[in-house]
């Protein structure tokens, strides 16, 4: 099945989204043939120009926001070239394509930064498929603004519930008032998520996360979720999605809060409280 720009734009016109992405030729990070990577950048720009031309003649499409795709694999020069050229076009924002699960963690942040450093500060930067919440912070530090909920589905599919720190209030305010005071260490060592498949939760009648106000935590216990997972009941996924999604949204609200503070130390403190495992953090 061939998807042309024209065919794709038909779909966009029928869907009437608020924002859509320009069709792109994105190579995975496995692709290291320079010729192929260069071709993907050229082709993506050509697609974008065709998209812009079609959009000009169509009122429905003009009312939709357009994101230009920044591609270029793992090649710094191509990433910069893709970003620089895309900036020259009249787009409403940018989507950084081509970061997948197999990505080498060392260059994750530097590749991202090479792409975003060229983009105008005032334009929103989107990214897809960030599968672990720790990588969200890495991406934010590298200049990304908007994410999808891929990490929520990943956690849920593994029977996991998010437990990482997600409130800024006890971070920003307490820090200002109690500088130098010893912090309250929670009885349990903090972890970013718990695996409800573990037998140790079979008799744990506490909510997934104390203090969480999601539907699952208000109505159900860890023991119940464990039971649903063991018996392979559909409700397990439904309830875990409710918790993980609520938790992530609160995390983003807190992150926005913390980033409003002029002090970098507030952000670093928030990040340390999140307790993401080492291999998720690339800073």
């Amino acid at each position: 099945m061939k998807v042309s720009v024209a065919g794709y734009m038909e779909f966009v016109r029928a869907s009437r989204p608020n924002v859509f992405e320009s069709l792109c030729d994105s190579v995975s990070s496995q692709t290291n043939k320079l010729k192929r990577v260069r071709k993907s950048v050229d082709r993506t720009l050509r697609f974008l120009d065709q998209t812009l031309a079609m959009r000009q003649n169509c009122q429905v499409l003009e009312e939709c926001g357009l994101l230009g795709a920044v591609v270029g694999g793992d090649v710094y020069e191509e990433r910069v070239r893709s970003a620089t050229e895309t900036v020259k076009r009249p787009v409403d924002g940018f989507v950084i394509e081509g970061f997948d699960l197999e990505h080498s963690h060392e260059c994750y942040q530097s590749i991202l930064q090479s792409a975003t450093s060229v983009l105008p500060q005032s334009s929103p930067r989107f990214i897809h498929g960030v599968y672990s919440p720790g990588d969200i912070l890495t991406a934010v530090e590298s200049g990304v603004d908007v994410f999808d909920s891929a990490c929520v589905l990943t956690a849920t599919e593994n029977g996991c519930a998010f437990t990482f720190h997600n409130s800024s209030s006890d971070c920003v305010e307490n820090r200002r008032e109690n500088r130098g005071a010893t912090e309250n260490i929670a009885a349990e060592p903090p972890s970013h998520q718990i695996d409800l498949n573990d037998e140790k939760y079979a008799m744990d009648f506490s909510p997934l996360l104390r203090g969480c106000e999601c539907y699952c935590c208000v109505h159900h216990t860890r023991a119940y979720i464990h039971h649903l997972l063991i018996t392979r009941e559909i409700l397990a996924s439904t309830l875990l999605m409710m918790h993980n999604f609520t938790h992530l949204m609160k995390f983003f609200a807190s992150l926005r809060d913390v980033l409003r503070s002029p002090l970098e130390s507030d952000y670093l403190h928030f990040k340390s409280l999140c307790a993401f495992p080492e291999h998720f953090l690339h800073a």
Partner: protein, 359 residues
């Protein structure tokens, strides 16, 4: 009563179950005994607290599933010795054990431990199962008492006797001689014809006291509910609404439809505009069809919400009609419009889905 087999009505939150109009839910002692286990539910504070449902709960005794699901080792006057369908471990259910388990689960209504036979059983098998059921009914009645953790529980007796009229009369007489809080008609919806089911239901209901609830176990489809009420039944339980929903079969006033059918691809309005369920209030038939085609679990979930609401609303309408003295008119109008699924395909589908899905 929607069936929360393993402490969940498959795929639905209990808020969704309540919003569909449910008052009492049924859970299966056999499944809960195996997982999560009686002790774990007791330690959670009982089944209501374990699963997060504050409304009434009815548990069955476990006898039927030990018989139908577990590999049978032995049945005698003592009880049923079976192997778990999960891991092959051996377990013994007796009337005392069945009552004790149900006390620890803490349901509001509990059932006697009985012996089931399939409809094709011969006369002497049916006789033996019935006699044993009667002996066990007396044991259950004598064992049953309020406990600190279960409080007062209602105990229902179960009438057996297969499809043999003399046996059914005998069983009705004996079971009603014990002052249970309600009476169930067991041993139906196990492969007999609809005509036989109606005949037996009518016969037994005529012998049951009119001031205690009558419960037809394991029934049924919308037309079964209406016919059952006409014959004197008050309570039903059946996995049918949710099981067929998960397979894309949805109830409408004119009969069951298959949402995967191409004609629903163009239907941009709700499946049933007379339905007040969440699915019909928010989604078009075309969207529901898309969900099933795409393998999205929201499809089976919304179909389950719809089918549950359909049958629960049907019960509400019947209560209303009875109170208003116009039940016969309601029954005739409903059955006149509702085309039941033909028997052959119904049985074929049922067995295929049971094989595919297991529980």
């Amino acid at each position: 009563m929607p069936v929360a087999t393993q402490a969940t009505v498959k795929g639905l939150t209990f808020d969704e179950v309540r919003n569909a109009g449910a008052e009492t839910v049924l859970s299966n002692a056999y499944h809960l005994y195996l997982r999560p286990g009686v002790d774990r539910i007791r330690d959670a504070g009982g089944l209501h607290r374990f699963m997060g449902w504050a409304g009434p709960v009815l548990t069955d005794s476990g006898g039927y599933q030990a018989f139908s699901l577990g590999a049978l080792r032995r049945i005698n006057d003592n009880g049923i010795l079976f192997r778990s369908h999960i891991d092959g471990s051996e377990h013994l259910f007796t009337p005392e054990v069945a009552i004790r388990n149900q006390q620890l689960f803490g349901a509001d209504i509990i059932m006697c431990f009985d012996q089931c036979v399939f409809s094709a059983g011969d006369r002497s098998d049916v006789r033996a199962a019935m006699d044993r059921t009667h002996r066990w009914a007396r044991v259950c009645y004598d064992t049953h008492a309020p406990t600190a953790y279960s409080g007062v529980q209602a105990l229902f007796g179960i009438v057996q006797g297969g499809t043999i009229p003399e046996f059914r009369d005998e069983s009705t007489e004996l079971v009603t001689s014990i002052p249970f809080d309600g009476y169930a008609i067991g041993g139906l919806a196990v492969g007999e014809t609809k005509e036989e089911m109606h005949r037996i239901t009518r016969q037994v209901c005529e012998g049951l006291p009119s001031d205690k609830p009558r419960y037809l176990m394991g029934v049924g489809s919308p037309e079964d509910l209406v016919n059952g009420v006409a014959l004197g039944v008050d309570m039903f339980d059946c996995v049918l609404p949710t099981r067929v929903a998960r397979n894309g079969a949805l109830f409408t006033p004119t009969g069951r439809i298959n949402i995967a059918n191409r004609r629903y691809g163009d239907q941009d309005v709700p499946l049933d505009e007379t339905c007040d369920c969440y699915a019909c209030q928010h989604y078009s038939a075309a969207y529901l069809r898309h969900l099933f085609k795409a393998g999205e679990m929201l499809g089976p979930r919304m179909a389950s919400v719809h089918n549950l609401r359909f049958v629960l609303r049907l019960m509400e309408q019947m209560r209303d009609a009875i109170a208003g003295g116009r039940f016969v008119e309601f029954r005739d109008r409903f059955l006149g419009a509702y085309q039941p699924t033909d028997e052959q395909s119904r049985q074929t589908q049922k067995h295929r889905w049971i094989r595919e899905r297991g529980v």
